[in-house]
Subunit: 371 residues, 2 copies
C-alpha cells in the first residue's frame, strides 16, 4: 500500500522552539488525560481516567466477539464473553500510566501524543485471571512470549497493523494479570477496550491491550512493531534501545489554590497549605515522597498513606503541610521506590519520550491573606 | 490581587504560522473531546462526551451542598439535593457543543482552548424542570436575566470569579430547561457538574452551568465577565460584539477507513463506502445534510434519519453512499437548518473563535481493492 509509505520512517523530534503541531494537537484532543485536581479521588471517576488510543476506538459487537487462544498450546481455545464470565471472578485496583507521560515537557520534544503529566488513572478492573486460562490451554514448555492482539487497526510509521504486544510468559502468568470486562463496577466503556482488555499491573499502558481478540503463544521472542520499534528507550536514531516495561516511580501534586484559565498559573492565600497528591511505582513499593517549595533547593519528606494490603498495585496518597509566604514559589515533588530509584530533576532524554519521570514543577503565586 | 494583573487583558490571537503553545496544550490535555468515531453512538458513552472546565473541577460535598434561589423573587429558596430529587422528574436527550468548537482551525488562531472539531456530545440528562422552581420562588414581573453561578473558581483575563452566566428569563422558563443530577442514568460525574448542573437545550456549552450553587434573578441585564467579555462575536479588539447564544447548524463525518497514528490521515479500500455522521442545530430542525467527496466542488444530499419526536434536542444521524476510486480524495459535509442557515466553506473569523462552523474537511487515501 504505497500511499502509506509517506508516513513511514523514524520517530520525529521537534526543532528547537517548534510549537506543538496540528498533528500533535489532534492526538491531544482525541486522547484524554486526568485533570490533576482529580488526583483527589482514590479511584478515578468514569471519564477522568487517561485514555490513549493508537488508532480508532473499534466498534466491537460483544454478541459476536470471541477470544482466541492459539499458537504453541496443546489445546487451542475460542471463548465468548459469556464463557469468560462463567470463570472465577477476579478484581484489582490498578494504577495505569502511559509510557509517554511527560513527553511534551522534554527538550527537544519527541513528536507523538504530547502528554504533559496527566496520562494516569486509577481504576477497579473486574474480570478473571489470565493464568488459569493459559494453563488450561496447556502452554508449550518452550513458550517465550505471549502476544496479545486487539481489534484496533491502523498504520504507524508506515506499518499497517492490528495493535499487538508481546509479553514474557512469566509476566503473563502472574496471578494479578487480568482479562477485564468491567471498570469501576460498570461494563468496560468503549474507549477502555470493550468488551475485554488485558490488565497487567505494574506495566506501562502499552502492555494493557484493549479490544482483545487473540492470545498467541510463541516459542521465540515477538518482533512485532509495538515491541521492536515503538516503546524502546533509545537516544540515537537507529539504535534499538532497551524495551519499555515496568512503570518507574513518580509522584504528582494536585496543584493548590485556583487557576488562571489560560495560563493555568496558580494563586493561593498565604498561610498553612495542605499539599497533597499521589505516588506510585510499578517495580516496587514507593518508600518516600519528597516535596520542595523553593524550586528544588531543599526537600522535605511528605507523609505517605499506609500501604493498603488489599490494593498492592494502587497509587498511594501523600500530604505535606507548607506555610506559604506571599510572593512567587515553585513546588516540586518526587517519589523513590524500594529499588532506590527516584525521579530526575534534570531531564533524561530519549528519542520517543518514553518512561520519562522528570519531576513536576508547579509555579504558584501566593497573595497576602485577606487580599 | 496585583499578581493576577499579569494575566489581565484581551484575548490573544496567534501570529501567522505560530505553533500551538504549551498553555493551549495544557488546556487540550485537561479538556476532553469526542473522538470522531464515537459519533457512531446515539448517546455518547461515559467519558467520551466533551468536557470544558474553565477553572478546576471543584470538590463539592453533595451532603452539605445547597442550591440558593435569590434576587428579585418573593420567596427565596434554599434546597438540598434531596429536596430537588423529591420534585417531578424530567429528562432530556440533548446535544451539547462548546462555543469554541473548531477554534484551532481558524487562521489566525484565537489563543484559548484549541478545539479542532470534537467539542460535542449527546447525553440523557435527568433531573427536574427549572421553570416550576422559578415559579414557586415567584419571579418579579420585572425580571430580565437569571444568573446561574457554579462552585468553580478562578481567574480569567485578570478577573477573579466564580463561573457565572446570565440568561434571559424567557429561555430559563422554557419547559425543557433542566436542573440535572444524572447523566445517562448514572449520577452526574464530577467533570459534568456534580451534584447539579443546568441544561439549556439548544444553547452552546457556556450556558450549561456546572456545579450550580446559586440562581439569582435580576431586574437588569447581567454584566458579568462570561456574558459581557467572554462569549462575544467580535472581530476588532475592543468591539463589544454580539453575544453567543444558540448552537448554529453543523454536520460532522465519522472519518471512514483506518488512520495513521501520528497524522490521523485516513486509508480505505476502493468501492462503495457508507459515509455516516451526525448533524444538529440549536436554533431550528436540521433540514438538509450535504456531502462533497471532491473537496467541495460538487455536493450530494445525504439521507437524514427521521426526527424522533421524543428527542427534539438530540442530534440526527445521516448517511451517504460513496463509490470511492483509488487515489486521494477530500470529504466535506455541511448542515442546513430550518432558518436557512448553513455552514461556510471559507472561514468566518472572530477574535475569540466562537460559534464558528467552518465545514469539516477529511482528506483520505483510497487504495485499490485487494491492495
Amino acid at each position: 500500500m504505497t500511499a502509506m509509505d509517506t508516513a513511514r520512517g523514524r520517530a520525529r523530534v521537534a526543532e528547537p522552539g517548534e510549537g506543538i503541531g496540528l498533528d500533535e494537537l489532534a492526538l491531544a484532543t482525541r486522547n484524554h488525560g486526568l485533570p490533576l485536581e482529580a488526583l483527589r479521588y482514590d479511584v478515578t471517576p468514569p471519564g477522568l481516567h487517561y485514555v490513549l488510543t493508537h488508532f480508532d476506538i473499534p466498534a466491537v459487537d460483544p454478541a459476536s466477539w470471541t477470544l482466541e487462544v492459539t499458537g504453541a498450546v496443546e489445546r487451542p481455545l475460542r471463548l465468548t464473553l459469556a464463557d469468560l464470565q462463567r470463570r472465577a471472578p477476579a478484581t484489582g485496583r490498578v494504577l495505569l500510566e502511559c509510557a509517554g507521560n511527560g513527553r511534551a515537557r522534554l527538550e527537544p520534544r519527541p513528536v507523538s501524543q504530547p502528554w504533559l503529566l496527566e496520562a494516569v488513572g486509577s481504576a477497579e478492573w473486574g474480570g478473571t485471571a489470565l493464568a488459569p486460562l493459559l494453563q488450561e490451554a496447556r502452554l508449550s514448555a518452550d513458550a517465550v512470549d505471549i502476544v496479545f492482539t486487539g481489534a484496533d487497526h491502523g498504520v504507524e510509521r508506515g506499518v499497517e497493523q492490528d495493535y499487538a504486544r508481546g509479553m514474557p510468559v512469566a509476566e503473563a502468568l502472574r496471578p494479578e494479570t487480568l482479562l477485564a470486562w468491567s471498570m469501576n463496577g460498570s461494563p468496560l466503556p468503549p474507549q477502555h477496550g470493550a468488551p475485554l482488555r488485558l490488565v497487567v499491573p505494574g506495566w506501562y499502558g502499552m502492555a494493557q491491550v484493549k479490544w482483545l481478540t487473540r492470545i498467541e503463544v510463541l516459542e521465540e521472542p515477538f518482533t512485532g512493531y509495538q515491541n521492536a520499534t515503538a516503546y524502546r528507550l533509545a537516544t540515537e536514531p537507529g539504535e534499538p534501545g532497551e524495551p519499555v516495561s515496568r512503570i518507574r516511580p513518580r509522584a504528582l501534586l494536585s496543584p493548590p489554590g485556583f487557576p488562571d484559565f489560560m495560563t493555568r498559573e496558580r494563586f493561593l492565600a498565604a498561610g498553612p497549605v495542605q499539599l497533597s497528591g499521589r505516588a506510585w511505582s510499578g517495580r516496587a513499593p514507593v518508600t518516600r515522597v519528597e516535596v520542595s517549595t523553593d524550586g528544588g533547593r531543599t526537600w522535605a519528606d511528605a507523609v505517605l498513606s499506609p500501604v493498603d494490603p488489599a490494593h498492592p498495585w494502587a497509587w498511594r496518597a501523600w500530604t505535606c503541610t507548607w506555610t506559604a509566604e506571599p510572593g512567587p514559589a515553585e513546588l516540586l515533588v518526587r517519589a523513590t521506590d524500594a529499588t532506590g530509584g527516584t525521579q530526575p530533576v534534570e531531564q533524561e532524554w530519549n528519542r520517543q519520550g518514553m518512561a520519562n519521570t522528570l519531576v513536576q514543577r508547579v509555579p504558584v503565586t501566593v497573595f497576602p491573606p485577606g487580599d
